[in-house]
């Protein structure tokens, strides 16, 4: 890096890398804030993105010369907004076509308002396909590159670029507004946002395919998003429940694979590896979220995770409490996956016979056809009951539907450990 480092670092390279780190940090933490505030002035997401990218590029040289500003987000926003205003002044035609709703384009003010909720609600608008909502949120709110979003969802960069372009075109052409929905629509719209963050988290927590059990990048983005939402919507029980769910579930991350990268079931996890700080915060949030009636789905899922987090060992698990929470979850938010989890819990509470009965009752559920966890749970129950040949078939079925290498290796090992059928020894 050339140019004098006025901060007086011990060499240009060192100062340069410190600045690069500061810019990277600001990218990670402030992208959504800067883009949201810039979009309001630019009136167009593409123009806003261009200006924000440019502001981050400028920061690399400007911060090397005059030091990292005290409030990097404000610096970046001012630079990006000014550039957007310049572009609009130069291009009258562009100004006339402004697709984002702007009653009166605000002039940059010294105290930049937090516009991230507008951006989030636009990205998670129900008029966009769910996969487009997810892609836009990661791209625009989290600042991931198109290549990174493509990698996260195992599609080609060209496919993802097309998906993002199509979604942006729809926002502009259909007039999807850049604002926080009316109070009447707000609960449903918040729920749509929660669904997007949940999908990012779930995809990262157990990657649908690939060599890693966990996609750390996605899990951490989901946690950032949940945190951002709880900051922006502090009184929403659904948001508190989501953050609690993410924290309590992800708290087990370090214990979910062993040193050789092999899957470790909840029953066998070394609980000293669980993130106590995250668990404490999650439990506090659960209590807060459960005070609301009816309880939200993530609050209940978080409460179930909290029951596991509260005891020192698998043997001490309070299954009655867990089954009771699944009953409440199924009453308010019925879903085949929740029913499957409840059935598995029944097996742990009352023995594999009860579990198998509950699992078999779900066999005709169309949503669970081809769902590996149903076959895997049946395989486990059948193995415990000594019904080896049926267990073998169930493990093979589960393997058929599993694309994650870590999960495949686990299932294959369980299958290999089944006793040989009689007559073949």
């Amino acid at each position: 890096m050339s140019g004098p480092a006025r901060g007086g670092g011990s060499g240009d390279d060192l100062a340069g890398s410190a600045v690069a780190a500061a810019v990277a940090e600001a990218h990670r933490r402030e992208w959504g804030f800067v883009l949201a505030a810039t979009a309001r002035v630019a009136g167009d997401l593409d123009l806003a993105e261009e200006c924000v990218q440019d502001a981050y590029a400028k920061a690399l040289t400007a911060w090397a010369e005059s030091g990292v500003p005290r409030r990097p987000a404000a610096w970046l926003t001012t630079v990006a907004r000014n550039r957007a205003l310049d572009a609009l002044r130069r291009d009258v035609a562009l100004r006339r076509r402004l697709p984002l709703l702007l009653a009166e384009p605000p002039e940059p003010e010294p105290d930049i308002p937090d516009e991230r909720l507008r951006l989030i609600f636009t990205c998670c608008h129900p008029a966009l396909a769910l996969e487009a909502q997810v892609a836009l949120t990661l791209r625009l709110v989290c600042g991931l590159t198109t290549a990174e979003v493509a990698r996260a969802f195992l599609v080609s960069e060209a496919t993802m670029a097309a998906r993002i372009t199509r979604a942006k075109k729809k926002i502009a052409a259909a007039g999807i507004p850049y604002r926080v929905p009316d109070s009447e629509d707000l609960p449903a719209r918040i729920d749509a946002v929660l669904t997007v963050v949940d999908l990012v988290f779930t995809t990262g927590h157990t990657a649908p395919a690939g060599t890693d059990l966990v996609r750390t990048d996605l899990v951490e983005r989901a946690r950032d998003l949940a945190r951002m939402l709880s900051f922006l919507l502090p009184n929403d029980a659904g948001v508190a429940g989501l953050l609690a769910f993410v924290l309590l579930t992800d708290a087990r991350r370090a214990a979910r694979v062993d040193v050789d990268g092999r899957l470790v079931l909840l029953a066998d996890q070394d609980r000293s590896l669980w993130d106590r700080e995250a668990i404490q915060e999650g439990r506090r949030l659960v209590r807060e979220a459960l005070r609301r009636r009816p309880p939200t789905r993530h609050a209940l899922m978080a409460a179930i995770a909290a029951v596991h987090a509260e005891v020192p060992s698998w043997e001490a698990t309070d299954w009655a409490e867990i089954i009771g929470l699944y009953d409440v979850l199924l009453r308010h938010w019925p879903s085949p996956v929740a029913a499957l989890n409840r059935a598995a819990a029944l097996g742990f509470a009352y023995g594999p016979e009860s579990g198998l009965r509950a699992l078999d009752a779900l066999a005709l559920e169309p949503c669970l056809a081809g769902y590996a966890y149903l076959a895997a749970a049946r395989a486990d129950a059948l193995r415990r009951l000594g019904r080896t040949e049926e267990a073998r078939a169930a493990y093979q079925e589960a393997l058929l539907f599993t694309d994650n290498d870590v999960e495949r290796d686990f299932l294959a090992a369980e299958l290999a450990e089944l006793p040989e059928p009689p007559g073949r020894q």
Partner: protein, 112 residues
């Protein structure tokens, strides 16, 4: 302000089986919708059933609608709204008990 076409798709069989009192109730519901949204509704018409439709493809004339679907286009409203949320709020009020509506923005031609 933007213009949106609200296309009404409904099951024609349900209308075919309807008695005059039922028809009167639907017509009244549409009148009430237009009165409630008179500032936004620029135009609106109901269509005869698809049995009366004639399609023309590359000059060849055939009997019937362009595409056979259970829920067929039966009418439309042209509305003006500040954004999609406002257009959807209007679309939700359109009486379409035997189906639903599709809300499509009109193409804006750039004059420059």
């Amino acid at each position: 302000m933007s213009k949106y076409l609200v296309l009404i798709y409904e099951d024609e069989a349900s209308y075919a089986a309807m008695d005059p009192a039922g028809f009167a109730a639907v017509a009244e519901a549409h009148r009430a919708f237009m009165a409630d949204n008179k500032d936004a509704v620029l135009a609106g018409e109901a269509l005869q059933p698809t049995a009366t439709a004639t399609s023309v493809r590359k000059g060849v004339v055939t009997d019937g609608a362009f595409a056979e679907t259970k829920e067929a286009l039966g009418g439309y409203y042209l509305v003006e709204a500040p954004d999609l949320d406002a257009a959807l709020a209007i679309g939700k009020q359109v009486p379409a008990g035997f189906g639903g509506v599709e809300v499509r923005p009109l193409m804006v031609w750039d004059e420059s």
